[in-house]
């Protein structure tokens, strides 16, 4: 054999083996997606919506304005919502699909092992069953055809249009969209806002830390005087749902509240005593449901479950509301505005992601002209404005999830209920896992709802969202409302989630209402609160009229008129703080610290005292970055440092001076803001770490900043290190930390990096560019760098008049669209754009009715 032949053979072998190797390896599948010209991905990079399409419900048009907002116009409402489904399906289909997968427990089918636990939880909760029950109930209502039309529109977009790049990258196609999927997304947001297992967590903390420390660090009521319905506030209008039913019947609600609070100022000042003895209608003193008694109650239900359930709590904690979820909203009447019409402000603090959690749309039909934001997959505007009004929502923090323990038989296959053994309602469910072994999950339910187990521990769950709810109808009707009376009618069917609604109409009427079904519980005929674990076997504190995965009658829930509310307030603000000091009925305990609520009220009081306010004034409030924690803590730190200045480290003194000269604004270019932000975290750690670590807890269990900031100097948490020494020690830790960090100013640390696409880890190009940003977890202009939660949209509106808004990113979920991130920098800078009810932009799709 010649040398040439050998060389040729060698080259031929290299060529052949290389080609086969590429084709057979992972590189081959990557090349199928990303090879130039032939890669599947490129079809999705230059997408353009079809100019014409067929609409089975009639003609319609979609115009898109200069920031990508779709303006849908149709005579027929079904035709309009078909078009809404179509454009949402074009712009956000991947988001729809991912969220649907999450609730259905189908994420692992595309994401693999990493999401198996999430799928297991969602399957066991059977959110699908709840959505199906809801759809069954609403199928005959007037707006159900619109939900169907919306689903048809999404499916038409799936059929007609190029899929988003994420589908190409992941290599899967979406299943057809259904009305139940839309309801599932409503369940998802309701769960995000109200799904928490605080009773379980509190029991675990009490077991680990003791009742006294838990009382200090995790008070069920924060000590402050700025609830939503402020005692003594003359600007609240007619107040109801507070002060006790008897009192309400005898005099106007607003006066009752003022009288009650004057007689009993700061009734909940005692930390940990519950929502004041003003809530005496529960027939329960605050102390009676302290965590100690909780454990006692649960022990009667099951001896296996009395010593805390770390594995169960840790598992469930992954699927609760993300830390920091909350919102700001306020309303001022025309009394306090330059135009003489009210102003509504709202900025919900939800997960910040790429693309944004909200989708903005404008729908004009013969019935309505409504514009605002909705969750992709939901047809109707949720927060927004129409020609007659404007509205917004914040989370209440209400207690709408109860935990039960049961007596089980020896092999755990039956549970005791009211004296007899019952079989679980059981179903096997298979979870598909990409590149892994499929899992079979046993879904078990009791009379109360899902039965969740982990490592031998269990909990039965009742949650208002697991029954058929009417919120979709309510949201739809608010969008069509023609004034306050219509809205109040609509709110009666707003079953979940529990929300603070602020509304104002073009006639100058204003309103605040607590929405959502609030369970009433009784034991031996006495009302009790819900922040404990109940004995499920005894049928303790069950919700009358509640039917999990069925149709609730709601007879055992707080009547609409008795929920906290204020009609025609001149000035009212909500920021997830306590609704009222003395609600007629128990509402809940998961309230936010009053940092934002107090600051908003301070700003509004100041503004309205000066005279008429403008949208600019309210924009300044909504983007306020002054951190109330600084006013609460920095003077104490400076004083502590001054006391030891002589013998202290010069750097400590310099840092103290820096903070002393600071205006408390969490601005990106502020060095003091950086020191403060890190100092607060170090302060919480310095206070908590020794005891938490000893108790087997970690920083995910740490209390709120407010709880630590208000700890008295004689708290047992300062036994080993005084409060003064703790403040200074935290500053020393901060300076050491900053020595080793690359941060010079707050914006170096506080960046938008956490605002990621769900698959941004694998495909970083899908993430937004990273920028420095201001604000903190305690500022009105809210941003949590640790959990990517913050102002997920901002709305300022004169009902029927000028309005402004902004999104944290862009309205399109199409990576290659100009509107993928075109609002991001404006949002960071605290800027707005106009929100008008005029149809503007270029026509992007003309729908022809099938019959025409």
């Amino acid at each position: 054999m010649s040398e040439n032949t050998t060389r040729r053979a060698l080259l031929a072998t290299v060529l052949g083996a290389g080609t086969v190797g590429l084709a057979a390896s992972d590189v081959g599948s990557l090349l199928e997606k990303f090879a130039p010209l032939s890669g599947d991905t490129w079809d999705a990079v230059d997408r353009d919506v079809s100019g014409e399409a067929t609409n089975p419900y009639g003609s319609a048009t979609i115009k898109r304005d200069d920031v990508g907002i779709p303006h849908v116009e149709a005579e027929d409402e079904r035709a309009a919502y078909f078009a809404v489904g179509y454009v949402q399906g074009f712009d956000r289909l991947f988001q729809l699909d991912i969220q649907r997968r999450q609730l259905r427990g189908q994420l692992s089918e595309i994401a693999g092992e990493a999401t198996v636990e999430s799928d297991e939880f969602h399957v066991k909760m059977d959110f699908v069953g709840a959505a199906e029950a809801t759809w069954d109930r609403m199928a005959e209502t007037s707006h159900a055809p619109l939900v169907r039309a919306f689903a048809d529109g999404v499916n038409a977009a799936i059929e007609n249009e190029e899929l988003l790049i994420e589908f190409q990258v992941l290599g899967h196609e979406p299943a057809p969209w259904t009305p139940v999927d839309t309801i599932l997304l409503e369940k998802q947001i309701a769960w995000t806002l109200t799904g928490n297992f605080d009773a379980l967590r509190r029991e675990r903390l009490t077991d680990a830390l003791g009742a006294e420390i838990v009382s200090d660090l995790f008070p069920t009521t924060y000590d402050h005087d700025v609830p939503v319905l402020r005692p003594g506030d003359d600007a609240l209008g007619d107040v109801g749902g507070v002060g006790g039913t008897t009192a309400r019947q005898s005099e106007p609600a607003s006066r009752r509240l003022r009288t009650g609070s004057a007689a009993q100022p700061n009734a909940d000042q005692t930390s940990g005593t519950g929502p004041s003895d003003g809530d005496s209608s529960t027939g329960e003193t605050g102390q009676s449901d302290r965590p100690g008694s909780t454990s006692e109650t649960s022990s009667s239900a099951s001896d296996d479950s009395t010593n805390g359930s770390d594995e169960l709590v840790d598992w469930l904690a992954q699927f609760e509301s993300p830390p920091g979820v909350g919102s700001n909203s306020w309303v001022v009447s025309g009394e306090y505005t330059d135009s003489g019409t009210p102003i509504v402000a709202n900025d919900p603090h939800l997960s910040l992601m790429t693309p944004p959690i909200w989708y903005e749309q404008h729908v004009v039909t013969s019935e309505t002209n409504v514009r605002g934001v909705t969750f992709p997959g939901v047809p109707f505007v949720i927060i927004g404005a129409n020609e007659d009004g404007a509205w917004g929502f914040t989370n209440v923090g209400a207690d709408v999830l109860d935990c039960y323990r049961y007596e089980l038989d020896e092999d755990g296959s039956r549970y005791r209920y009211q004296g007899e053994w019952r079989e679980f309602d059981t179903e096997e469910h298979e979870i598909a896992v990409a590149d892994g072994e499929n899992r079979t999950v046993t879904v078990r339910k009791t009379v109360h709802g899902p039965f969740l187990e982990r490592e031998g521990e269990h909990v039965g769950v009742a949650w208002t969202g697991l029954t058929a709810t009417r919120t979709s109808q309510s949201i739809y009707e608010i969008g069509r409302s023609e004034g306050l009376d219509d809205v109040l009618d609509s709110l009666e069917t707003f079953d979940e989630p529990t929300q603070n609604v602020v509304y104002a109409d073009a006639d100058g009427r204003t309103c605040y209402y607590t929405t959502g079904q609030l369970p009433q519980r009784t034991i031996d005929g006495e009302p009790v609160r819900g922040d404990r674990i109940f004995d499920g076997s005894a049928g303790e504190a069950e919700w009358a009229g509640y039917e999990p995965y069925g149709e609730a009658t709601w007879e055992g829930f707080v009547p609409f008129d008795e929920k906290p509310h204020a009609i025609d307030p001149d000035r009212l603000a909500t920021a997830n703080q306590r609704v009222a000091d003395d609600p007629t009925h128990y509402v809940g305990t998961a309230y936010a610290a009053p940092y934002r609520g107090g600051r908003i009220y301070d700003r509004l009081d100041e503004l309205t005292a000066e005279g008429a306010t403008t949208l600019d004034d309210h924009a300044a409030v909504q983007t306020d970055r002054v951190d109330p924690r600084a006013a609460q803590l920095v003077p104490a730190l400076v004083a502590a440092v001054d006391r030891v200045a002589e013998e202290g480290d010069r750097r400590i003194v310099e840092a103290s001076d820096l903070l002393d000269d600071w205006d408390y604004e969490m601005a990106p270019d502020s060095e003091a803001a950086l020191v403060f932000a890190r100092w607060v975290d170090n302060l919480v750690e310095t206070v908590c770490e020794p005891r938490f670590e000893d108790a087997g807890l970690d920083d995910s269990d740490y209390p709120s900043d407010w709880a630590v900031a208000t700890l008295p100097a004689d708290s047992q948490l300062f036994e080993s290190m005084s409060r003064t020494a703790t403040l200074i020690g935290a500053l020393e830790a901060t300076l050491s930390e900053l020595d080793g960090a690359e941060w010079e100013t707050y914006g170096d640390y506080n960046t938008t990096a956490p605002i990621e696409h769900p698959f941004g880890g694998q495909a970083a190009f899908l993430n937004y560019d990273v920028h420095p940003i201001g604000g903190s977890r305690a500022t009105i202009n809210n941003y949590r760098v640790d959990s990517a939660v913050g102002s997920s949209t901002r709305l300022l509106a004169h009902p029927g008049g000028e309005a402004r808004t902004i999104l944290p990113g862009g309205n399109s979920g199409d990576y290659s669209s100009d509107h993928y991130d075109d609002q991001f920098e404006e949002w960071i800078a605290g800027e707005y754009r106009l929100l008008t009810l005029d149809i503007v932009g270029e026509t992007i799709v003309s729908f022809e009715g099938e019959s025409s």
């Binding site: 040729r8 080259l11 060529l15 990303f34 010209l37 230059d46 190009f765």
Partner: protein, 150 residues
Amino acid sequence: MTSEELGPTNSSENDGDRRPDDEFESRAGGESPADRRDAVDQVRGAVSRIRTQPGPHRVAVVVAVVVGLGLAWFHWLGLLLGGMLVGFVARTLRRALLAGLGFGVVLLAVFAVTVAGSLGQTLAMTPPIYLTIGAALGLPTFGALVRGVV
């Protein structure tokens, strides 16, 4: 061994190893060995012309590029085949490799035109875009190694 050394040995005129042709002849049947040898020589002559004569060479390169782009439009293996085609008509292996690389550059230019509306976003698609560019330049060059075989 360099590619320059390999190049001349691959030209048909100097190639004494005829075993593939012999195999072809053995299968051909009816014609005489001399006729068959003439036919093979004609093919070799044609290949030689398109590799060495400027006019036919240009035409061959253009055809190879167009066909290669067409194949690459449908499947990534077209990148390899395109490289093989432009490599095959090159005079030497070294020129084949350069031609493969050149084909990749042309292909990238065509690709840029096809995504012109979103070129910025496409180029920002890191890291996948590195694979795209690497495949565009690497696979045709790799395919052009075929010139070392025929």
